[in-house]
């Protein structure tokens, strides 16, 4: 009786060994490291690795290991001094095409990493860093799209020589008016073939034929999705410029983007780059109002019809047309450079995507010699970065010359690259946690966990003697399983997560108490020890499952509707409930069976005092 078949012990042993392997990496701590990643098209390869290795060797910086990890090079060091020195050496060697970032790498041995055993992934509140939640302004994305449709359909109608009497934007629709039926029909055909994504309606108003272009609902959804994706891509690029290891840039909800930068010590700079809620636009300058290369006469005047008044980079007034030629999302790359033909003057090389290139060709063909404005819109405030003269018909690749300094060229290029947002964004949540606070939080969380565990151990052993020891061992196994599972899943561990580990332990012991109490009771009722173990575990199982299901319901609700700290808590809580059922039922039973099972005669169980009950039967009212 009370014997486990061998396979059950094998299952338990296997689970424990697995758990041990995946828990061990957490014990090794971290060593200082530098991560080198390539910007733009610069790739990390073996040649680069050799270059870095040689550079570090000649600067006599000792390294622990250098390896290529995905799209970055990771170099581990013995101490922080070597790390900082190495970063300077690498930055000097590789120049601007690469970014070197300081971070900490787990110092667990390589064979563990090869088994995919990594330490738990610590949240920002435990390792310090910056957290931003950005809200994407979808209304602006729609606005922009409608404006684009307006511009494009106007150009299309002109191109096809279709005569309309008026074209304008009304709310979120584009309205084109015609005097003649023939023209309207031609327009309907052209617009219909061009824009399958738009709903095109025709009506008659005051003897005019009116064609209304409206975005279909699915177009709207697609637009918002792509706007969000575009912004995420743009944000990733920006974050890469910061040189942060393992940055998180991900979608949250329908219109939000979460950014987490671990280990960032200078939040102001991060915000400067990320928080730049900028969009870029190319528009023609309103030449007809220009006096020389000057719009000063409009400084205190309202902008004439069809134009907009903006401020230039050196505080000059620039009048630009309302029609947008193209927006920053069409810019695929912008690089600072030098013009070798004209005395090495700084310039910016710009590359557009296909649609952008066509729009640019169309706009510049008849406008050679005129000025085009590059406009950066930040928080609704436009600024003309530059308004160069168009030298020739432009295509997908062109350059802006006549820039006064190389620094200005660099900034302009960065702004154009980073300005590729489909819709403006706003930071709606920001959290900065200093690295020292993170370390303190880990320490406090760990201490309360260990102290709580110690208290439970003392109590359980004192109260249930040998069965208490078994309970504590299975509780320790539970902790092991939970940490292993968290490491395996690489779920983010936060301070509420540590609290959840502690709380789960406190609740998990519940199952053991249930079992032990039940066994005691069966003994009191005069059952033989072996029978008592058998019935105690069996009877308790129902209750254990019941109580864990209700706890799990609460945990799942927190997981589904919780956000931020609540979610961190809920993940651990739910996982902990699963592991605790396994360890309380399988592991503790396994140990008890190992001790008592198979013995012919067991006189008594070491489960604390039960003798008093022999004279009085408890709760036996009938």
């Amino acid at each position: 009786m009370n014997k486990y078949p061998a396979w059950k012990y094998v299952v338990i042993a296997l689970a424990l060994v697995m758990a041990l392997i995946y828990t061990v990496p957490n014990l090794f701590g971290e060593s200082p490291a530098v991560q080198v990643s390539g910007l733009r098209t610069n790739k990390i390869d073996v040649a680069l690795q050799t270059r870095v290795t040689d550079a570090l060797k000649s600067a006599s910086v000792s390294t622990d290991s250098i390896e290529i990890h995905g799209e970055s090079l990771r170099i581990k060091f013995k101490d922080a001094d070597a790390q900082i020195k190495a970063k300077d050496v690498i930055t000097a060697t590789l120049g601007e095409g690469y970014v070197a970032a300081l971070f900490n790498l787990s110092s667990s041995p390589a064979w563990l990493s090869r088994l995919n055993a990594f330490p738990m992934y610590l949240g920002l509140d435990l390792r310090g860093g910056v957290h931003f939640l950005m809200q994407v302004d979808m209304k602006a994305a729609v606005d922009k799209a409608v404006d684009r449709y307006l511009g494009e359909s106007r150009a299309l109608l002109r191109d096809k020589k279709i005569f309309y009497s008026g074209i304008a934007r009304e709310a979120n629709t584009v309205v084109v008016r015609f005097k003649e039926r023939v023209e309207a029909d031609k327009a309907l055909k052209e617009l219909g073939t061009q824009y399958a994504e738009l709903a095109i309606r025709e009506s008659t108003q005051a003897e005019q034929i009116v064609i209304t272009l409206t975005m279909k609902p699915e177009t709207m959804v697609k637009l918002q999705e792509s706007a969000l994706q575009q912004n995420i891509t743009a944000l990733r690029k920006r974050v890469n410029e910061l040189g942060v290891s393992e940055p998180i840039v991900q979608q949250q909800g329908a219109d939000r983007i979460l950014i987490q930068l671990a280990g960032v010590t200078d939040p102001a700079r991060a915000k400067d780059v990320i928080g730049r809620t900028a969009t870029l636009e190319f528009r023609m300058v309103a030449e007809e109002y220009m006096a020389g290369r000057n719009f000063e006469q409009f400084r205190n005047e309202p902008a004439p019809f069809g134009t907009e008044k903006m401020i230039g980079a050196s505080d000059e007034i620039v009048l630009v047309r309302k029609l947008v030629i193209l927006t920053g999302d069409k810019v695929t790359d912008a690089q600072p450079g030098f013009d070798s033909e004209q005395g090495n003057r700084p310039l910016v090389n710009i590359r557009l995507d296909g649609a952008g290139g066509r729009a640019m060709t169309l706009a510049t063909r008849e406008n050679v010699g005129k000025n085009m404005a590059v406009i950066l819109i930040e928080k609704g405030k436009p600024e003309v970065l530059s308004w160069p003269t168009i030298q020739s018909e432009l295509g997908a690749q062109f350059r802006i010359t006549g820039i006064s300094s190389s620094l200005e060229a660099k900034n302009l290029a960065l702004l154009m690259r980073a300005g590729a947002l489909a819709a403006p964004m706003e930071i709606i949540e920001e959290r900065t946690i200093g690295p020292s606070l993170g370390a303190e939080n880990i320490e406090k969380g760990k201490n309360s966990l260990l102290f709580g565990f110690a208290l439970i151990t003392i109590f359980m052993v004192a109260y249930y003697s040998l069965f208490g020891v078994v309970s504590v061992i299975s509780l320790a196994a539970n902790l092991l399983f939970l940490i292993a599972l968290l490491s395996m899943l690489q779920a983010t561990l936060t301070l509420p997560g540590i609290a959840a580990i502690a709380l789960t332990l406190g609740m998990a012991i519940d199952a053991n108490v249930l079992i032990n109490e039940r066994i005691r009771e069966e003994l009191r009722n005069g059952m033989s020890p072996q029978m008592a173990i058998q019935t105690g575990y069996e009877r308790a199982l129902d209750t254990i499952i019941d109580s864990n299901v209700t706890t799990l319901i609460a945990g799942l609700a927190l997981l589904i509707w919780g956000s931020g700290p609540v979610r961190g808590f809920a993940v651990v809580h739910c996982l902990g409930i699963m592991t605790s059922i396994f360890s309380a039922v399988m592991v503790s039973r396994g140990i008890v069976n190992f001790i008592y099972g198979g013995r012919k005669k067991v006189a008594s169980l070491a489960i604390g005092n039960v003798s008093w009950a022999k004279t009085a039967k408890i709760a036996k009212a009938s």
């Binding site: 606070l437 406190g506 609740m507 108490v513 249930l514 299901v549 919780g562 039960v610």
Partner: protein
Amino acid sequence: MEFFKFKKSIPFMKHALLFNVISLLTFLLAVFFLWKNGLHLSIEFTGGAVMEVKYAQAVQPDQIRTTLDKAGVVGAEVIKFGSAQDILIRLPRPAAVDQNQNAAMESIKGRVMAALLATDKSAELKRIEFVGSSVGKELAYDGALALLAVCIGILAYLAVRFEWRFAVATIIANLHDVVIILGFFAFFQWEFSLPVLAAVLAILGYSVNESVVVFDRARENFRKMRKATTPEIFDAAITGTISRTIITHGTTQMVVLAMLILGGPALHYFALALTIGICFGIYSSVLVACPIANYLGVSREDFVKPVKKEDEPEVISAQP
């Protein structure tokens, strides 16, 4: 070792009315304070900013308040945070229109740090949190939704597993705990943050266990003790499980106590909410849930189905 040695069932149900009056009074008090004081919601819900600043030596919140007043920062709330060297500054959401909220917040934060550094160079900014107003509303809504989902989920599970009357009694007993925890937070004006919300919901799921255990035993007793009245059944069930109830809550409380003592300010209110929940959980899940189930009229017939009656003697004979 053995703490609980009951030779007879304790007549809990005889005093049910007394327990109910106590419960009702605490419940009404909690509701009163919730209505009068409201919850002191953290910035996660209200929007605004929190700054945690560490000094090299002990500082007085009053001094910092004066410094901030002089710098023209309005509505800042300054409290000690953990040790005497740490302070927490809570800044309300600026009244500016939504678009400029960010900029306004940014300038206030700048002014605060400038003012603090001007008076004491050792001021070190350890943490800033800024939350826009729209986020808070969603969090409150999601929190309420989560609470509702937990209630419905537990209700449904218990109704299937036991009987609807037990389910209703359990939910009432445990929601009464939730209201009392909230009442404490309203009375003492402790900060109600997201982790506290998590604690409240976790404790709700946990306390239900106790009711489950008692009702489980009651069901067993209904089958075993054929002559006993319903109150007697409950008395026996409560007496039989009280040892386990107190011990499991005690062990859970040990961990929570460790968190309360060693967890630092970040886990303080979380642990506090758990402590209140655990203490009231023992009481209400047993002494509130059982009388309610009794009033709702649970009877032997609800458990011992006529079909099962034929097995009955066998079940009894299996019990020594």
